[in-house]
């Protein structure tokens, strides 16, 4: 269902992007003639005001339609034209009096070249795909560059089982011809990659590139690494392992791009500025003034990855606030970073000894702030994952998924919606281990973990409850929908072919489902889901049974 929404939204956005492009082309004709006038120092105040207005609009809107570089150039030009427009307002007949010939020529030419950014800006919003919203499908799109049609078919259907939507092209030229959004990951035939001579890396800067091929030797691997490939898989592909690796690459990337920061400061303006810089960089920000009474509730509600705090606020000491936070076991491991004009290393160390983790010395540039915070959020998440996640599957550990179920139960009561809770158990798992070995068993468990991650929304909670038992919480999800969704998961999982000692095998899955909101206590809902699971096991396995209330 969410798939339909996503493709619908993409189609609409594509249409709007096209319309924006057409309008922009028309706008550029006007700007181009103004550019000529500026270059020859003949532009009048009316023309300058028009350019200013038009550049301001472009700066604010181009990025929304996927033309970020056009928006950024428009912003730079807007800042250049501003003084001239201000001069006009003072009654000067030419706003260009302060501009020397060279600057005027440069500005004029750049105005005339805006069109180039529109053409180059075929790089539509990678962000749309890289950061899906909570309500949209979580399925990633991978780009596959594979000249061989039969191989391509295999790959597309194989990856489809793991919930990957695939966009397929034969070569790089074919991809560039289309105007589809850039996918977050690229899989490419090794020969195509090597023959491209670095062009793929340029086209997909920053994206993970995974090569596949039939040749496997160290020289070949070195050649691929040297060209900048991020991974290599030798054919025949072991699909579960392959999907697992893609998953890790994508999760890493998502982690590196997002983050949550709570800023505590008493300088409202500065806080707003930091907040805008960070949110423009894709980081979620919440700000709170340095009031001890506001800080803890804000933390509990927002749950940041890191806390950024001014060391010396009016009346309030950041150090004391940090210590106060450390009273709560829950916030013992939250990284606290002080913002301070304090450059004395001794004083800094003293502050660190009292509950802080690091220092950022003011003044600091916007780009430095963003980069530092990104790295910090990423590290904090990695560490947090280590303690709270099952090392084999990367899913939440038993106690954590249970506490998530409890908080979701509370949210159901508060928000008045229903959420689903499900227990999942692999069928005849002992037989898998016995006849194919423990390593094959591990691959099956990872396979299910990956399938669940791909199929469920980002907001859904997935945990490994026991050996081959999993728990899933689907917030704000009616029973009917949950049943359909989990039925699909069962069907797809049973189709995955695993490799074992005695050849390929399949494993099926049983699910017990219950409604969280129908029970007074989360523990009761878990028990109900467990009973439904038992019922499903008795009545033939491989499918979903809904708890009877």
């Amino acid at each position: 269902m969410s798939d339909v929404i996503t493709s619908n939204v993409s189609a609409k956005l594509d249409g709007l992007r096209q319309r924006f492009r057409e309008k922009a082309v028309h706008e550029f004709e006007v700007l181009c003639s103004i550019g000529q006038a500026v270059a020859s120092q003949t532009a009048d105040c009316e023309q300058l005001a028009h350019a200013d207005h038009s550049l301001h609009r472009l700066a604010g809107s181009a990025g929304t339609f996927g033309f970020s570089s056009l928006g950024e150039e428009a912003r730079r030009l807007e800042l250049l034209v501003k003084p001239a427009v201000d001069l006009c307002k003072t009654g000067a007949d030419s706003g260009l009096a302060n501009l020397d010939d060279e600057m005027a020529r440069d500005f004029g030419q750049r105005l005339q070249s805006l069109q180039d950014f529109l053409d180059a800006g075929g790089e539509p919003t990678t962000r749309v795909v890289a950061k899906p919203p909570e309500s949209a499908s979580n399925e990633p799109l991978v780009l596959v560059i594979e000249p061989d049609a039969a191989q391509a078919d295999n790959l597309v259907s194989g990856l489809g089982l793991y919930g990957y939507r695939v966009q397929l092209v034969e070569d790089l030229q074919q991809w560039q011809a289309g105007s589809a959004p850039t996918p977050p990951l690229v899989i490419v035939r090794d020969q195509v990659f090597l023959a491209g001579g670095g062009r793929l890396n340029e086209t997909f800067a920053d994206l993970p590139i995974v090569c596949i091929g039939a040749t496997d030797c160290y020289r070949h691997r070195y050649a691929l690494a040297n060209e900048g490939a991020d991974a290599f898989f030798c054919e025949p592909l072991n699909l579960p392992l392959f999907a697992n690796h893609l998953d890790n690459l994508l999760t890493d990337r998502a982690d590196a791009e997002s983050g949550r920061v709570l800023i505590v400061d008493d300088d409202q303006e500065l806080m707003e500025h930091y907040s805008l810089v960070l949110s423009a960089g894709g980081i979620r920000v919440k700000t709170v003034i340095g009031d001890p009474g506001l800080l803890l509730p804000a933390l509990s509600e927002f749950r940041p990855d890191i806390l950024l705090m001014d060391l010396q606020m009016e009346d309030i000491s950041g150090m004391a606030l940090a210590r106060m936070l450390r009273f709560e076991p829950e916030w013992l491991s939250l990284p606290i970073i002080y913002l301070s004009a304090e450059s004395d290393r001794e004083r800094q160390l003293e502050a660190l000894a009292r509950g802080g983790d690091d220092f950022l010395t003011k003044p600091l540039s916007d780009s430095f702030l963003l980069r530092t915070i990104r790295v910090r959020c990423y590290r904090a998440k990695q560490l947090n994952n280590l303690v709270s996640r099952d090392s084999m599957t990367g899913l939440l550990k038993h106690s954590l998924v249970k506490s998530e179920a409890a908080s979701e139960h509370a949210r159901c009561e508060r928000m008045g919606y229903d959420s689903a809770i499900a227990m999942l158990d692999l069928d005849h798992f002992k037989r898998v281990n016995d006849s194919h070995g423990h390593r094959a068993g591990d691959v099956v468990i990872k396979g299910l973990a990956n399938l669940l991650r791909r199929r469920l929304r980002k907001t859904d909670v997935i945990g490994r409850y026991g050996g081959e038992e999993f728990m899933v919480v689907l917030p704000d999800c009616p029973m009917g929908q949950a049943e359909l969704l989990l039925n699909d998961v069962c069907k797809d999982f049973s189709k995955i072919a695993f490799e074992g000692k005695s050849g390929e095998f399949n494993v099926s899955l049983s699910v017990g489902l219950a409604s969280l909101a129908s029970y007074g206590h989360p523990e009761e809902a878990i028990e109900a889901a467990d009973r439904a699971l038992y019922e499903r096991k008795r009545s033939g396995r491989n499918g979903v049974t809904v708890a009877f209330q």
Binding site: A59, G60, K131, P133, E269, L270, L276, K286, E413, M415
Partner: protein, 133 residues
């Protein structure tokens, strides 16, 4: 436990047709809200009583009545004196931001915005505005 009223009706005041259209996708299709768009401050003041939005998003720079002026007009209506308002602007200088907040906005969203995350941004602003206020 504190109850947070669910956000359903949002009014957007924006003179640019393209941005109105993309916001419709972002807030209606992606976010699932009911959106009323107005192309000017005057239109917004005419439509607000009937639509009764729970939150208002205003472009700062509009010809005629600009965002802050429109908000002042809205604040004069008793029913909407406390309705959370959010400004959208292509400017990020901190002094300007502060002045918008001083006008009574609960938050400022920088332009360009990402159509795929606008809805969750708005929702977060809504929740925090309800918690404090």
């Amino acid at each position: 436990m504190m109850q947070v009223e669910a956000l359903e009706r949002i009014m957007l005041v924006e003179d640019e047709e393209d941005i109105r259209a993309v916001a419709e996708v972002a807030l209606e299709s992606v976010g699932g809200f009911t959106l009323k768009t107005c192309s000017s401050g005057h239109e917004a003041l005419e439509a607000i009583e009937k639509f009764a939005p729970q939150l208002v998003i205003l472009d700062v720079m509009m010809p005629g009545m600009d965002g802050p002026e429109t908000l002042r007009g809205i604040r004069e209506l008793a029913d909407f004196a406390g309705t959370p308002a959010v400004f959208m602007t292509a400017k990020v200088q901190s002094d300007e931001i502060a002045s918008y907040l001083a006008e009574g906005a609960v938050d400022v969203i920088p332009k360009p915005f990402d159509p795929m995350t606008l809805a969750s941004q708005i929702l977060e602003i809504w929740r925090s505005s309800r918690f404090i206020g």
